[in-house]
């Protein structure tokens, strides 16, 4: 096969994926639910950001501030020069809701709204469709996280002076995005299997809380936080941003485990989607 032929096939595939990514991003951003959730993220970030100023301006009790800085990871000391970290840490739940909402709608939504049939009747492979949707979700996650991190760092810096997070901003963004990758893939897998946004959304959330909360509780309770069994579950690797800030040796194993979960979920989605009747 000539190189030019291979190149033209590759170009066609790239152009398909690009078209799907574009349509997916435009479609997602115009959804009212997405816009409302994004507003909620901004409102929560703004509120957390200005909270210390509100307390000092209105002379509110310091205990209120402590409620916001309680149970922070050890690597984030409760101080105003770490406030951008605290903002990000406190709004992570709502950020996850936004990301899972995006991912659950991307494939399951197409099935539910029956828009998948005209799309798959076009000369585009199902692999390209899934890849396009996955890449679109990642781009959206990066854009939103970048915006939120820049917003938190700039706001905290203006209000409370220099922020320690500035040094780690880029790696922190990457590690956050990386932790989200398996969940975007899981949402796609659940979407192609269930064809229901509710099942996909709830399933992905349950897995998120299972890995992030229940796993931590169980293994911490058993004193096996860093055991081999604990590492096999995704929850251990989800602390990647903390490992990064900490400069921990857990960074590489966590990256590997996340990659395995992501690839398995994507491969399973593809196998199922390729055989699926529309």
């Amino acid at each position: 096969m000539k190189l030019s032929h291979v190149w033209s096939i590759l170009q066609a595939k790239l152009s398909h994926v690009q078209a799907i990514v574009r349509a997916e991003i435009v479609w997602s951003m115009r959804k009212r639910k997405f816009q409302l959730l994004l507003l909620a993220v901004l409102a929560a970030a703004t509120f957390t950001l200005i909270f210390p100023s509100l307390i000092s301006t209105f002379g509110l009790p310091q205990s209120l501030l402590e409620s916001l800085t309680r149970e922070l990871p050890k690597v984030i000391p409760a101080s105003l020069e770490n406030w951008a970290y605290i903002v990000l840490f406190r709004i992570q739940a709502i950020l996850w809701i936004l990301f899972i909402f995006m991912a659950m709608d991307s494939v399951a939504g197409e099935f539910e709204q029956e828009t998948i049939a005209p799309l798959l009747a076009k000369p585009v492979s199902r692999k390209e469709v899934l890849l396009g949707k996955y890449i679109a979700s990642i781009i959206m996650v990066i854009a939103i996280l970048l915006f939120v991190i820049v917003y938190a760092v700039t706001g905290a810096w203006l209000l409370y002076g220099g922020q320690t997070m500035i040094n780690n901003m880029f790696v922190l963004l990457l590690s956050f995005v990386y932790v989200i990758l398996p969940f975007l893939a899981i949402a796609i897998l659940l979407g192609v299997i269930s064809r229901s946004t509710i099942v996909t959304g709830l399933g992905t959330f349950m897995l998120y809380f299972g890995f992030n909360g229940i796993q931590a509780m169980i293994f911490t309770g058993l004193g096996m936080e860093d055991s081999l069994i604990a590492k096999a579950f995704l929850g251990w690797s989800m602390k990647l941003p903390i490992y990064v800030i900490n400069g921990s040796p857990n960074v590489l194993p966590a990256i590997g485990i996340i990659a395995v979960y992501t690839l398995v979920a994507l491969a399973a989605s593809l196998v199922y989607f390729k055989r699926a009747d529309i």
Binding site: A12, S15, H16, Q18, A19, I20, R22, A23, V26, W27, R30, K31, Q113, E114, T115, A117, P118, L119, L120, A121, K122, P123, V124, S125, R275, D277, I278
Partner: protein, 309 residues
């Protein structure tokens, strides 16, 4: 290659039910073929297999010579498909949707733009091209469904209930679109419940019932399969005449009402001479003898009823 669409022993089984039961057919290039049958007959399942959306349980099908399973993408390159229920991403505009689908067909930018302009004018959505689809009426979405099926200048167009939800004026325009496609040599397979519409635009017909192909061919050929009807007006009708006519070997059924006799034939030959001779021989005087071909509705009902029975 003469055949645009070929199906051979196409079967689709869902758990315990057989949606399509080993059907075989060919649609030649340039034919406008109507695909009719009662609800649940297997029309949409067959169409979805041809569009590459369903995998057949057994058998094969091809579009423009490409197998719809093994060479799905090549088959889809020359195919325009309009689903039974047209649903498109509501937050895109008609122009954005056509641009999106045009990209998937690999149509270059300028050509794509010109094609989108033409199609939006053709289906009467030009003025609403920038509006989001979510704001469109059902008929407008259906029209967009027609436009998106034609974005790639397809050689083969498959439309599942294309006029559903369209108002009469648009249906007339739709017929013109299909006729224009025929002039361009495009092969069209369309399913519909509106038999009069099928009769007006289709050159060929396929009737499906309970997953089986009951009949196929030109409308005239199907009328012949179904058999003709002869109406005779006599000056007076005697039992002798009636019995003699009923005993003729090509008479399937005979109805008598006053001086009128209606004979249902099991042949397509012109038997008016034999009938007239028989009437005279038995002392009757025929005032008029006329043949009528059954309407599409009668053919359809007859063929689908026969299978059901």
């Amino acid at each position: 290659m003469d055949d645009a669409i070929v199906a051979e022993g196409l079967t689709k089984k869902y758990d315990n039910s057989l949606a399509v039961d080993g059907i075989s057919f060919k649609v030649k290039n340039g034919e406008i073929c109507g695909f009719i049958g009662p609800n649940g007959a297997g029309k949409t399942t067959t169409i979805k297999i041809l569009a590459g959306l369903l995998n057949p349980t057994s058998g094969s099908a091809s579009i423009s010579g490409f197998d719809v399973v093994a060479e799905r993408l090549k088959a889809q390159l020359s195919l325009g498909y309009m689903p039974e229920i047209c649903r498109f991403p509501g937050y895109l505009s008609a122009e954005e949707l056509l641009n999106y689908y045009g990209r998937l067909f690999g149509i270059p930018g300028e050509e794509r733009k010109a094609r989108i302009d033409d199609l939006l004018v053709l289906v009467g959505l030009d003025e609403r091209r920038k509006d989001r689809i979510i704001k469109y009426s059902k008929g407008m979405v259906q029209r967009l469904g027609i436009a998106q099926a034609l974005i790639n200048n397809p050689k083969v167009v498959i439309m599942d209930e294309p006029t559903r939800g369209l108002d009469p004026a648009i249906i007339v325009e739709f017929r013109d679109i299909v006729r224009a496609l025929r002039k361009d040599g495009v092969t069209v397979l369309l399913s519909s419940h509106i038999l009069s519409e099928i009769q007006q635009i289709c050159t060929h017909l396929m009737i499906i019932n309970k997953g089986k192909l009951v009949a196929s061919g030109t409308v005239n050929k199907l009328a012949n399969i179904s058999g003709s009807v002869i109406d005779i007006e006599l000056k007076s009708v005697s039992n002798k005449v009636e019995n003699a006519l009923a005993n003729l070997k090509f008479v399937k059924e005979l109805k008598r009402e006053g001086n009128f006799i209606q004979i249902f034939l099991n042949t397509n030959k012109d038997v008016r001479g034999v009938i007239s001779k028989t009437v005279y021989e038995k002392g009757g005087i025929p005032l008029s003898i006329s043949t009528q071909k059954p309407a599409l509705e009668e053919i359809y009902l007859k063929l689908t009823r026969e299978v059901s029975e």
